[in-house]
Amino acid sequence: MSIEDRYTWKHRHLLDVTHLDKDDVTHLLDLAASFQEINRRPVRKVPTLKGKTVVLFFAENSTRTRTSFDIAGKRLSADTYSLSVAGSSINKGETLKDTSLTLHAMGPDVIVIRHPSSGAAAYIADLLPCAVVNAGDGWHAHPTQALLDCFSLREAWENRFAGRTLLILGDISHSRVARSNVHLLHMLGVKVRLCSPRTLLPAGVESWPVEVFSDLGRAVADVDAVMCLRLQLERQQAGLLPDLTEYSKRFCLGTKHLDKARPKAVVLHPGPLNRGLEIADDVADSKASLVLDQVAAGVAIRMAVLYLLAVSPPPSFVRGKELVL
């Protein structure tokens, strides 16, 4: 066995997909695939992380991501604890620093953090000696979402990313999902398009490795996948959009659009869906929709991430061999 056949996970934290290289991503996706297999067993639990503690610190509303991490931890036999805004001292004015130090004093191996401030995960990773997983920080990054999206796409695309075209549709500017996906998909060789009203495009998008469209009909032509983003209703209140009716007329993904895409094109959405606003009912419920596959993939990806970060020293693997659990 040569050195090149051996892969070692080198990361202390998972804060942003920009810290990962292609080997890391391939490995994470492979590992998630072996965990996916566990998720299909009658008894969906292995003792891998027995005795490890995972704290889920959600300073922003989330049900699916938190549940997904929770299930992922429990399937690996880790003890998981949730702290969310409603029940926490954040409402009493405690700073992120003090909340994080307090959580750490309880001795977790991994802290999973969701926070409304861009950079929050990096901030606590600097502060604490334990592993930190970014479960979404402000508009900045949502690495496990991008990984699970790629996991779902890899299955749908039969393991081939190169030469594929994917359209991200909706509010790019305020989307951590978009930022993480643009980077990750580009790294994997996917051609990425964005389609959005100009008021919801980020500053400096000209330098992103993407093609930008304002017309959905043109943007969707010959794509292999469309990723719809959730439109936060507060964008209209902030004056970035005149009216949601006009938004849905211009940007709601319907079957007439999908007809212009490649025949086997698939549709993703990170959820929760605004049906009729960014995605039409019939598209959401069509065979092209991967929405529920994404949810299942989310558990597998988060199992892989927790496994890699909670096991120390970092695990190494021999390429091509399946993980036996």
Partner: protein, 420 residues
């Protein structure tokens, strides 16, 4: 008291400086005149003789936020930093919008620094900085204020701004504007551009500053009155000022050392130490500002000394407060620009002393007989780390913390009295 500073270097000439009764008697070539009887002698060989500096833009936080800074600690930092005069902004608690607050500030300064550095407060341009009605500038002028500004909270109402500029002009007080469109990029944390887009952070486009500067300049032209543009951060604003000057408008402007030495990349991984208002901009803005100081588009340097306690910076970028300390570091930072060849020593005298003295009608030392004996001796090669032990400000919120600086004030005299 009589003092003779011997063998100092003043703009490359070796000189002796004679001081009596707090004033300059004469400055002569070294050894050309005998030292009178009973005169204290200070040998300054190897040290540069510079006039005490004027900082036209500082926040000293007293009254109300003495945990960040107070007048005594701020003036101590100023003295060590080479400043003989500090113009402090009005955003204290309470706001400096009445003569009684101004008098309190002046009393505090005299109590801790009877010989100087001198405090020259800046009156709030509107009551409580709320942008609604103007304070009694005449009384505040009598109490010691030298200019008016709404720093940090720009005056959005142009009709009110016009009346402020007109009324303040009766007392020879210039309006200093923190130029920021109140709506464009509202809630920003850094410069708007590629980096803010990648970090997922709300940015302020450079136009947010330039638009307001253009308004001020057009208004100043219309009224025939002066206006001073504070802390210019962008090439775009620089162009607007240059255009105003070419039209003969009485517009003057400042920038700060950090806009010359840092760009937005300092914010890197959400580093709150680099969060400042206006924001650090692109490398090309930095280069343009340096050119502006040399060609005269920018008239002065100022620190925008804005101390904050460590817990106010130790957070995510959105929560962290804006601003850097500057009084301790400003001259050493700009001395670095002289060492790099971007500025000349004489530029520093002009930008930090003579020009602000002229714009705000503050007495400064040109080393002519009768001038106030406000000067310091500068060790041009001494290296020192920017750390707690070397800085007098109560706060340490500077992106230059830990950096090794070159050049240090060795002896500082104000009115002929040694303050450092």
């Amino acid at each position: 008291m009589k003092l003779c500073v011997r063998n100092a270097t003043h703009l490359e000439a070796s000189v002796d400086l004679f001081v009596a009764e707090g004033r300059i008697v004469t400055m002569t070539p070294s050894g050309s005149q005998p030292v009178p009887e009973g005169c204290e002698i200070l040998d300054a060989k190897g040290l540069l003789l510079m006039p005490s500096l004027v900082d036209a833009h500082a926040h000293l936080r007293e009254p109300g936020q003495e945990y960040k800074e107070d007048i005594a600690s701020g003036l101590a930092a100023a003295a060590q930093g080479g400043f003989g005069t500090v113009m402090c902004m009005a955003n204290t608690v309470p706001v400096n919008d009445t003569a009684s607050v101004t008098r309190f500030m002046m009393d505090r300064a005299r109590a801790s620094h009877p010989h100087g550095p001198h405090l020259r407060p800046i009156a709030a341009a509107t009551m409580g900085l709320k942008g609604e009605e103007m304070p009694q500038f005449g009384e505040m002028r009598e109490a010691g204020c030298v200019a008016v500004s709404n720093d940090g909270k720009p005056v959005a109402n142009t009709e009110l701004l016009r009346r402020i500029m007109e009324y303040a002009a009766d007392f020879g007080m210039t309006f200093i504007d923190h130029c920021e469109d109140p709506h464009l990029g509202h809630g920003w944390m850094m410069n708007e551009g590629e980096l803010s887009g990648l970090l997922g952070v709300k940015g302020q486009p450079a136009a947010g500053e330039a638009i307001q500067a253009a308004r001020d300049i057009l208004l100043a032209e219309c009224l025939g009155l002066p206006v001073h543009i504070a802390h210019v951060s962008s090439a775009m604003t620089l162009d607007v000022i240059s255009w105003g000057k070419s039209r003969g408008v009485k517009v003057t402007a400042e920038t700060c050392p950090h806009y010359l030495l840092l760009d937005e990349s300092a914010i890197g991984n959400y580093d709150t130490a680099a969060k400042v208002s206006p924001p650090l901009r692109r490398p090309e803005d930095r280069a343009a500002l340096l050119r502006g100081l040399v060609d005269g588009t920018l008239d002065i340097l100022a620190t925008d000394h804005a101390p904050h306690a460590s817990h106010e910076k130790d957070s995510t970028l959105d929560v962290a407060l804006f601003g850097f300390t500057g009084l301790d570091l400003a001259l050493s930072l700009t001395w670095g620009l002289v060492l790099d060849g971007g500025l000349k020593e004489a530029d520093l005298h002009r930008l930090w002393c003579h020009a602000p003295g002229r714009i705000f009608d503050v007495p400064v030392n040109a080393f002519s007989p009768g001038d106030p004996a406000d000067f310091f001796l500068w060790d041009p090669v001494q290296k020192w780390p920017a750390n707690r032990g070397n800085m007098r400000s109560k706060s340490l919120n500077t992106p230059f913390l830990g950096r090794e600086l070159v050049g240090r004030v060795r002896h500082h005299f104000i009115g002929g009295e040694k303050v450092v």
